[in-house]
Amino acid sequence: MSLLEVQDLSVVYEPSDAAPTHAVRDVSLTLERGEFVGLVGESGSGKSTLGFALTRLSKPPARISSGRILFDGRDVAALEDEQLRAQRRGGFAMVLQSGMNALNPVRTVGNHFRDVFAAHGHVPRERRDARARELVEKVELSSTVLGRYPGELSGGMRQRVSIALALALEPQLMVFDEPTTALDVLVQHAVMRTIRELQASEGFTALLISHDLGVVLESTSRVMVMHQGVVVEDGASRDVLRDPQDDYTKMLLSHYADPRAEVVELPGLAARGGQLVTSASTAPSPGRRAHGSGSAPRVGRAASAAVVVDGVSKVYPPPRRGAATVTALDDVSMRLEPGQSMALVGASGSGKSTLAQLITGVVRPTSGTVSVGDVRVDALRGRGLRALRRDVQMVFQDPYAALNPLHTVEYTLTRPVVNYTGRSRREARARVLELLETVGLTPVEQFAAKLPHQLSGGQRQRVVIARALASDPQIIVADEPVSMLDVSLRAGVLALLEGLRAEHGVSMLYITHDLLSARVVTDQIMVLHDGRVVERGETSQVLRFPQDPYTIELLDAVPQPSRAGGAA
């Protein structure tokens, strides 16, 4: 008998004020004991809904409308509340998406374990503390974390704690719902390794739900792909990689590539091999700047401006009394030529966002200088900063938080057009429609009237990019512009940014931890580690032949579908 058998399961969302959504449709699947299975899908595919249904955590308005879930031969839906609660020990456990917030901020880690033991009584009272220590050591944490509050732990540590808590239940089935999504690349890599090792040593059955086919293929022996509530692919990881059956799976796979390869190609993005980049001199000359496609002539302004950062350090005061000062950047210099695109990569805490804030004039350096053209950014105040923002614009990471939910797209775009380019209302409207056209949101009239919540993530990010373009800037600082987007939408946004550079001569500083996207949209790259530049050069050169151990570590952390089935 299979450990888990799902027969024709459908889950429907029935909100009281909207039409019902069929999130999961007639899904049938089985999990055998000891298997490590992946469940992949993009946002809205129904994968998390399915995970919640399997562990009976679905809450209204979600409802299982038909089908059966047999866990170890018992119908999960038929369990009484108290039976269900008992079943959570030695049955199925779940590790949640954004495990960062899965711990009660006002209880110590040790108390979380005590709560679990008290709820099930499966560990004798006198053994409980020792067992908790054993469990946190299993997830490679020191037992001192037991005395600490969740707020005192890093994201990776918190996710490890929630894995240890799930382990405390001695489950037969562990459902991991996007366990590493909110984590930094290197941390994600380490946590996934821990999960794989635990699965092998503890022998539980694991279901890994993720939007990242790369992560899943790398870890699991079998993979299921979900699309619009239906499982469209189910097969051994190796086979799926080599010979995907469904078009959707093929599409997902096409978005993965090895950033170290000689030629890297993603759908919709031109190949960038070694031949393209020779030096900064290949940057488009000012003469090549196209003013077509709605870009207004820069009347009375310098045609181009390079960003020059010279010997910049930024030291923040200690976060709390007694702690040491934080050096976010340590003697960093760089130069971004007009029309060039440069990647700034590093793990979180490496100082890449601080550098962006220095260039946009949001923070001032502790020492060193930052200039855009002949303007000293670090000396600007008030009016000067306003003028700078006309030239230097920002694209933010989270398109869901970067737009005011109360304003229409048109309003959002009109503000910077009126404020920075001095157009009249009527001219501004024409410019707004042009901008929407530029970022590919057509029909433009229709999109102009929409509110942010009526748009998808990818469409929102296009609005954010259009807003950055509204002031007709010379430099765009893009801070992880695609990290929140589904894989299939990423290429489109990246192609758009790349097109802006090529057609409008806008130079771009592309901040990311995603080396693959850095490879396809940038010419130059700079690797930051603990506030220092550890490696820089032409992107293809650096990624193909990395010199610094940190760059190599980052490259190793990139999920590689090609390693499929090699795990466990």
């Binding site: 955590l57 456990a93 709560d115 709820a119 808590l165």
Partner: protein
């Protein structure tokens, strides 16, 4: 520990600032109480120098420089010597405040704490049973009652329970035939007198606490740690109280602090309607009679009580939320 010491230090500093302001503000006003009294007399004809001297002597015209006065004043505050009331001459301000304060503290203070505790518990229940009758009933009636101005609720209660059915006494804190002190008849009588004002305050403030707690808890019920606690099979009581409610109460503490701070100064209307001899009633008398020493002492009391309430809530925060301690 460092957190509590720093809170205590902050409390001492603000208290000192409040006491100093209380000293400085009246001195920044032009004229003096003696001038005001003499001006009033002067309307009936010239005031002879002997009368002027007598009035100044009676009111105590300050001698010495500002710094010396300040020093005297600090000493007086520490020994609770706030002078003599004009209105209730020759009673000292300290004795007047001393006899009014306990009534206000016990009545309004206890009722405020009770309203917070009861309202929070009902809010927890309403959120946990969201959408059921246990949610709808307290939520609806709570917001209905909270919409009444409380002196109006007081008048309704007074009219029906006091006059029509004569269940409770209509004014005062105790009957003249009892002797204040710790004896049975007095306490029973005091409780009977306190019922109507207490019910008034309870009814009008309960709704706010119910709604605040319910909404905060509905928020925390959607948080990941609550889902995770459920996924781990914790008992629903544990999930509701230690996970959801424990976190939901934090934002409500701020409101509780404001309410506690308002105990001494904010009871004016209720005490006026019920002629309850508390601080609010005393303040009302002091203001209508231009009783400066009494007013000054009462304002100081009110300010200090807000500071004490803030300190209490800061301490509570420190105990309940480990994140504030860092």
């Amino acid at each position: 520990m460092r957190y509590f010491l720093s809170r205590l230090g902050l409390f001492a500093l603000t208290a000192w600032a409040a006491i100093t302001l209380n000293f400085l503000l009246p001195r920044l006003m032009p004229g003096s109480p003696a001038d005001a009294a003499i001006a009033r007399l002067a309307q009936n004809g010239p005031v002879d120098p002997a009368t002027r001297a007598a009035i100044e002597a009676q009111l105590g015209v300050p001698t010495g420089g500002l710094l010396a006065q300040y020093w005297d004043y600090l000493g007086n505050v520490l020994t609770l010597d706030f002078g003599v009331s004009y209105t209730f001459f020759p009673a000292s301000v300290a004795s007047l405040v001393g006899s009014a304060l306990p009534f206000t503290l016990v009545l309004v203070g206890l009722v405020t704490v009770a309203a917070f505790v009861i309202g929070t518990l009902i809010g927890v229940l309403a959120a946990w049973r969201r959408g059921s009758a246990l949610d709808a009933l307290p939520t609806l009636s709570g917001s209905f009652l909270a919409a009444f101005p409380y002196f109006w609720t007081a008048l309704l209660l007074l009219f029906f329970l006091g006059y029509t059915f004569q269940l409770f006494p209509t004014s005062g804190a105790y009957s003249p035939y009892t002797t204040p002190g710790l004896n049975g008849p007095f306490l029973a009588d005091a409780v009977a007198h306190a019922v109507l004002p207490a019910v008034t305050i309870l009814l009008t403030s309960l709704g706010g606490w119910i709604l605040g707690m319910r909404n905060a808890m509905i928020g925390t019920l959607g948080d990941d740690y609550v889902t995770f606690a459920e996924a781990n099979g914790l008992r629903s009581r544990t999930v509701a109280l230690r996970y959801a409610a424990r976190n939901a109460i934090l934002p409500n503490l701020t409101g509780f602090g404001l309410a506690l701070g308002g105990v001494v100064g904010g009871s004016l209307l209720v005490e006026r309607v019920f002629a309850y001899p508390g601080v609010g009633y005393l303040l009302f008398n002091a203001v209508t009679n231009q009783d400066f020493p009494l007013m000054q002492a009462l304002f100081l009391m009110i300010t200090l009580s807000v500071l004490v309430a803030n300190f209490v809530v800061d301490t509570l925060y420190g105990i309940l939320d480990p994140r504030t301690r860092r």
